[in-house]
Structure formats: C-alpha cells, structure tokens
C-alpha cells in the first residue's frame, strides 16, 4: 500500500504487508530529528507533488519487487507540519527470506530520498530553510 497522509499508524502499515505465509517483515521508520547540523529544529513542514510522489513511490515498490525476492511492500509518507520525534516515513516489507526483506527496505528508503518529489523545510529559532536546496 502506497499512501501520503497526515499521520502514520505503524501497526497498520505492518499489518498491510503481513500474511501468515511470510516469515519475516522488515520496517523502516524515519522520524523528525530534534537537531540538525548543531541547530535545534522547532518543526518541519513537508510539501509534496502528490500525484507524482505517489507514482514514484509505486515505482519504488515495483522495482523493489523486481530486484529482490520479496512479497509485499508498503510505503507511507507524511505531509504537513511535523514536530521532533514525529514519524515522517514508514516502509514495511514482507518476505519469505529476511535478507531480501532487509535489502528491499533499505533500497526503498534510499531511493525515496532521491526520487520522490517531497520537500521539507526546517524551522529553527532564527529562520527556515528548504533542506538540500542550496549548496
């Protein structure tokens, strides 16, 4: 299941990939860090080109299933305002073989960070910045 939403329920994401025939599920949970490069983060704002983001997330799922011997993958990402400690992304992968599940889960988060059109703005006490936009 591919989804962009305000809040992610981890149990639901795990549930969406788990069936009794698979032995292993791997999960990645990304959360808002309270510090970045030594500065205290007050909040993040996530913006998203939603239809394209969903397509890119579906592409990740499709390619992961081609590359690795996995059975199910779900990717959920938030939009809107998030505070330190809150969940940003949850990826769950179910497979018969755990090694493939680990590889596919890592591939998915690595690729998501490179290709999915979602942007985060970090808010500090003295200003805000779109992450990675400028050198």
């Amino acid at each position: 299941m591919i989804k962009i939403e305000e809040n992610i329920n981890v149990e639901q994401v795990i549930q969406s990939v788990s069936k009794s025939q698979y032995g292993g599920t791997t999960v990645f949970i990304g959360t808002v860090r309270v510090h970045t490069k030594g500065q205290r983060v007050l909040k993040l704002h996530f913006e998203c080109y939603e239809p394209m983001a969903l397509r890119e997330m579906e592409k990740i799922e499709r390619q992961a299933k081609e590359k690795f011997d996995i059975q199910e993958m779900s990717i959920h990402h938030v939009v809107g305002e998030k505070l330190p400690g809150e969940k940003v992304v949850v990826i769950a992968v179910a497979a018969f073989h755990r090694k493939a599940a680990f590889e596919a889960c890592e591939y998915a988060i690595d690729t998501l960070k490179e290709t999915v059109p979602i942007w985060k703005k970090e808010f500090f006490e003295n200003g805000s910045v779109w992450v990675a936009a400028h050198p």
């Binding site: 080109y49 394209m52 490179e114 290709t115 999915v116 942007w119 992450v131 990675a132 936009a133």
Partner: protein, 87 residues
C-alpha cells in the same frame, strides 16, 4: 509525415519547495511556448537567475522526470522539481 505546430498559449508550471519561494507563487504561467524542456529551462534561468543556484533543478513532464531534449506538447503537465528531501 505531419509536423505539429506549437500554438502560442498559456503554459502553467507547477512550483514546489525552493522554486516556489524563488518565483513567489505556486504556479508560474508563461504566455509563450517552448519546443523542448531545455528551451523552457533556459527561459526560466533567464527570468529567475536564482534557480541556477539550486543544487539541482529537474523538470517533470506529465509526472515523469524529463530530459532537456524532450519535446513539449500542448496540455503537458509541467513541474519544477528542486532537490527533493523526503524521508
């Protein structure tokens, strides 16, 4: 072989993240037409030099990352994609 002629028409470009801040709006409308993604890119760099200072600037056409050589068609959905930072 029929050669398609590009009409002069309003082209709306979706803006996100840093590009929205630079151009000052979430949609940029151009009353002009460009044969390729590369031509559109040149136009945007001329109009908004700050776009060239971004770490990268991809252009998506119909929700796919596009090469500069891609030809634009009327009705294409075009979006500027500054460096993504999801996850």
């Amino acid at each position: 072989m029929q050669k398609r002629k590009l009409e002069i028409m309003d082209q709306h470009i979706l803006l996100f993240g840093a590009t929205k801040d630079i151009i000052g709006s979430s949609i940029y409308s151009i009353n002009d037409s460009f044969k390729t993604v590369g031509e559109l890119r040149e136009h945007l760099y001329k109009q908004f030099p700050s776009l060239e200072k971004l770490n990268s600037l991809m252009i998506a056409v119909n929700m796919n990352y596009a090469e500069d050589l891609l030809e634009l068609k009327a009705g294409d959905e075009i979006a500027l994609i500054p460096p993504v930072s999801g996850g």
